[in-house]
Symmetry: C2
Subunit: 148 residues, 2 copies
Amino acid sequence: MSVDSPCSIARSLGVFGGRWTFLILREAMSGVTRFADFRTALGIAPDVLTERLGTLVDHGVMTREPYQETGQRARYEYVLTPAGRELRVVLGALQQWGDAHLPRPEGPTVLRRVRGSERPVHVGYVDEAGREVDPDNVQVVRTAAYPS
Amino acid sequence: MSVDSPCSIARSLGVFGGRWTFLILREAMSGVTRFADFRTALGIAPDVLTERLGTLVDHGVMTREPYQETGQRARYEYVLTPAGRELRVVLGALQQWGDAHLPRPEGPTVLRRVRGSERPVHVGYVDEAGREVDPDNVQVVRTAAYPS
């Protein structure tokens, strides 16, 4: 489970380092940037949060930027990079699966819509012309880099 | 991080229970069904593998089916359910992110193609007409079920 694995799923999970990291990313996607706000939102232990944010910064998912409020010492904000924002689709796929297969009586907490409309959006496979491809019609092809 | 969380990302991660589970699912997607074959492919400790497979069965991601070879005792195969197969898109999204942002000099180990063609497939957002939606044009809308 390392960032050196030949498998890009394993490498990605080497960065995400478990479930807390996905929930940190969920908060970051909804605009949280400050250490104290991640702590409050998630109820996560500070040492775990420090370690996970550090891993995300080390791998280019977030940047650490100083800020200072009047009369306070300098602190840091954690801001998603463009690579970090691309993880939206991973979180969207997890959310859609949970909504479908682990539903709650209250229904989903969030919905995905085309901006400014009621049109629902889901996560799926897309071809290079921007048209959806049925999952059964997607073939996984091994390359020469596949471990023997 | 429980299957009772209001957040469907957290509920999904409650089932997947960490990184090993995603790699078990990766092997299952490529056709592995037997305990010994999961062990060999992943180098995972048997007690961890037993526990993770049990969680996947409990939550309807896999079924446990008996099989018997001549002269051997009955054993079990672990087979993805339709809900389990729907996780393909989650693994596809993780893989695509790793290929883009944690590349290796050898290149990706697998590619996704429209079956029987060279046409590449990626994971993205899709509207109800089956057309791709730019991620910046996807809005996350909170419902009444969102925790206050």
